[in-house]
């Protein structure tokens, strides 16, 4: 497709290697360092959020109250959601973006490297603040990760104030990170690389970053209104003053729905890189993939109220949001079709990244189908706030977003570390995760359809078997992530030297670079020549 020339000398503006000691990580402006920190941070948060899931599933192992009191159970579900969304999935993708975008578009670094560092270092402070609420008087927020008013205003514990400021910090971090990605992609592509020659991962992040810049300020605005209601006697979410608690839901979901695409589009990008490599074919329908991404992003702004069907809204509104939501299935279907068509008649091999990618395609589609069921307003009245919803969004987030990140890590780890991971450990990690997550989340469809409500620490006896199954699956899934932690450490410490292109027929600028990667790459941009 394209050929490029490569010069690795630079003009001695800066040192060639990283600085020494711990402070290197604190002061760094290098996209590789920052990407590594994001990924490690994401993994740590994934494990912390996972421990909270353990508490939830342990309590739900049997009917009746056994381990924790209901208030603490609510704090666990709330914190689990917040940490996984804002601490694990989003930083995980930003980590992949930091590592890969400059390498894939031939840029010397991110466009605004100091701001990049700031975006990252805000996060540990933000999550310190969020986690500290667990130790405060009145406990951590227990109003669910969607923090509906008035639960999160009139009836909230004092710690809600710190929750609000933590959200503010995460928002600032995300906005800056997203701006950096947009600027990098617009301004720093290698000469000759047009927008329509960008790798699909870069495209997916361009769209995601646009969504982030558009909706994170809305989240900041809504938590600011909460802060005003709590501390400054305003009445945004109080009908007694002419406001409306439902207003909160509208603004929250105006942020929240694009947010769910923020968590999945980069995974689409990762999978679109991996599947062609291991099918030894070009990605089927590049242009339609790009248009589908754009269509999904635009539609995501006009579907938010499908989260609120049961709150009561005019029939015209219900119909509009129902049809608009179902329309999203079209571009998503285009993507799934293209991935399958890419594999069709390819010479497939199933190394670990490909296993995760194929599982992504299949299981994300399961989550997508349950999403279409939920979009149908009259039936949603039945599903609302049941475990069916929990099953749905865990299917798009765990084998969707999380598998996307993990697949990307396996795919690019040999390039980042210069070492090859242990393939059989990788496969073991995959199969344990695959079995574990299906065991956890598939039964939730059944108990949800049978009427088991979410966010409840106790349940009726008829749900016992499936819940026990789900809990065992969760313990299996959670524990098997330790295999992944071990695998990464083992790769870094004692992995075998990786080849420059560890995957047969992998394409893209990142594979033209030597392994191990120099600390600074593409200080002179490569020139893309079109044949």
């Amino acid at each position: 497709m394209s050929e490029q020339t490569l010069t690795l000398d630079d003009h001695d503006h800066h040192e060639h290697g990283p600085a020494k000691g711990f402070l290197r990580w604190v002061f760094t402006t290098n996209h590789k360092d920052i990407g590594t920190m994001y990924l490690i941070f994401s993994l740590v948060m994934f494990l912390i959020g996972g421990m909270m899931a353990f508490v939830i599933r342990a309590e739900l192992f049997q009917p009746g109250m056994q381990l924790v009191d209901p208030g603490f159970f609510n704090q666990m579900t709330t914190m689990h959601g917040l940490i996984m969304v804002f601490g694990a999935v989003m930083p995980g993708f930003v980590g992949l973006a930091n590592w890969q975008i400059p390498l894939m578009v031939g840029a010397p670094d991110m466009a605004l490297p100091r701001m990049n560092n700031w975006s990252f270092w805000i996060l540990p402070f933000a999550f310190t603040m969020l986690l500290s609420t667990l130790f405060m008087e009145g406990g951590a927020p227990g109003f669910g990760w969607t923090f509906y008013a008035p639960l999160s205003t009139t009836y909230a514990p004092p710690s809600v104030t710190f929750f609000i400021f933590a959200i503010h910090m995460m928002g600032i971090s995300s906005i800056m990170g997203a701006m950096n990605i947009i600027v990098t992609l617009f301004n720093m592509r290698a000469p000759g690389m047009g927008l329509m020659q960008m790798p699909m991962f870069a495209w997916s992040w361009l769209i995601t970053a646009f969504l982030l810049v558009a909706v994170m300020p809305v989240l900041a605005a809504v938590v600011t209104m909460m802060l005003m209601d709590i501390h400054f006697a305003t009445s945004f979410f109080s009908a007694a003053g002419g406001g409306d608690p439902v207003l909160f839901q509208h603004i929250f979901w105006f942020f929240g729905h694009p947010e769910v695409y923020i968590m999945i589009l980069p995974a689409f990008g990762v999978v679109s890189e991996i599947i062609p490599t291991f099918s030894r074919k070009k990605l089927f329908g590049y242009h339609s993939m790009v248009y589908a991404l754009i269509a999904i992003a635009l539609l995501s702004f006009v579907v938010w109220a499908h989260h609120m069907f049961t709150v009561g809204m005019p029939i015209g509104g219900q119909l509009f949001f129902m049809y608009a939501t179902m329309l999203i299935a079209v571009p998503t279907g285009v993507k799934v079709f293209n991935w399958v068509a890419t594999m069709f008649k390819g010479s497939l091999t199933f190394e670990t990244p490909m296993l995760f990618a194929v599982a992504f395609v299949v299981l994300f589609t399961v989550g997508g189908f349950s999403g279409i069921m939920l979009a149908i307003a009259p039936v949603d009245f039945q599903y609302q706030d049941t475990y069916f919803v929990v099953a749905h969004f865990h299917y798009v987030l765990v084998p969707g977003a999380v598998f996307g990140i993990v697949a990307g890590v396996y795919y690019w780890l040999p390039k980042w570390t210069g070492k090859m991971y242990d393939e059989s450990l990788g496969k073991m990690h995959f199969w344990l995760s695959f079995v574990g997550l299906n065991l956890t989340f598939f039964p939730m469809h059944f108990v949800g359809l049978a009427g088991m409500p979410r966010r409840i620490p106790d349940y009726a006896l008829q749900f016992a078997d499936f819940n026990m199954m789900a809990s065992m699956g969760a313990f299996l899934f959670g524990t098997s992530q330790l295999v992944f932690v071990y695998l990464v450490i083992k790769t870094v410490r004692s992995g075998k030297e990786a080849a420059q292109v560890p995957w047969e027929s992998a394409e893209g600028l990142e594979w033209t670079l030597p392994t191990p990667l120099p600390y600074h790459t593409f200080t002179t941009p490569p020139v893309i020549e079109h044949k």
Partner: protein, 297 residues
Amino acid sequence: MEHSSNSYYVPDQSIWPIVGAIAMFLMLGGTGLTLVDLQTADHASQSSSTIMYSGMAILIVMLFGWFGNVISESRRGAYSPQVDLSFRYGMTWFIFSEVMFFLAFFGALYYARAFSVPWLGGEGDKGLANMLWPNFEATWPLLTPPNPEMFQPIKEVMNPWTLPLLNTVLLVASSVTVTFAHHALRHGERAKIKIWLAITIALAVIFLYVQGYEYVEAYTNLDLTLNSGIYGATFFLLTGFHGFHVTLGTIILIVLLIRVMKGHFTPDNHFAFEAGSWYWHFVDVVWLLLFLVVYVF
């Protein structure tokens, strides 16, 4: 795509981002402690406000340090046209994010006027809500909230054709003068830049003074407060955040004036000036919208 022989400037390690992160943590954490103090006791403890103020102080130090770095790099010519373009894109998207921030508040105002207040008054699909406060009558501006014991009624709202109109004139004029300053800069007429920029700053400061005066008036004579229901809430949040942005913009303009006096900026290299004036036009446009939907209609 720029295809220059200069490589893109990638700065070395920097201390400022981590300082900024710590500052933000202390500032917001301290503010949180202060607010919770006020919520649970009657007064803020010494330590809470100390943490908050130290955060602010560190943030100011960080801003000086970081911008100082950028200015000196810019002046020694480290930034290629490509880097300059990165800054331009960055500023554009930053302003876009600010637009979205204000959009949420405008959306809240729209929702209150079009839906929640009429519903509470008994109109439309959810008019059933009227049974909560059967005596409530929906009007806009909403002078008497549904529950006047919880949220105090307003005597009168601000007349748009007095101080707010004056403020509109001031802000529009300042947008024009900042453009004159920019033209002067492009032609290298330094004396003129200083005059036009100084006039802009003067207009901005008068605007802020008038806005402050209006708030005092609202609280003392009109009973228009944060606590007076959804009208007061949206009024103060929109004008308040706008005023905060004008304050930031004014500080930016003052810094630009100081830099002009120090001899910074050339006719073809003055991104900071342009970014400042973009920001200023942005607060102006927000005001125009705000003047229309908050005050006039």
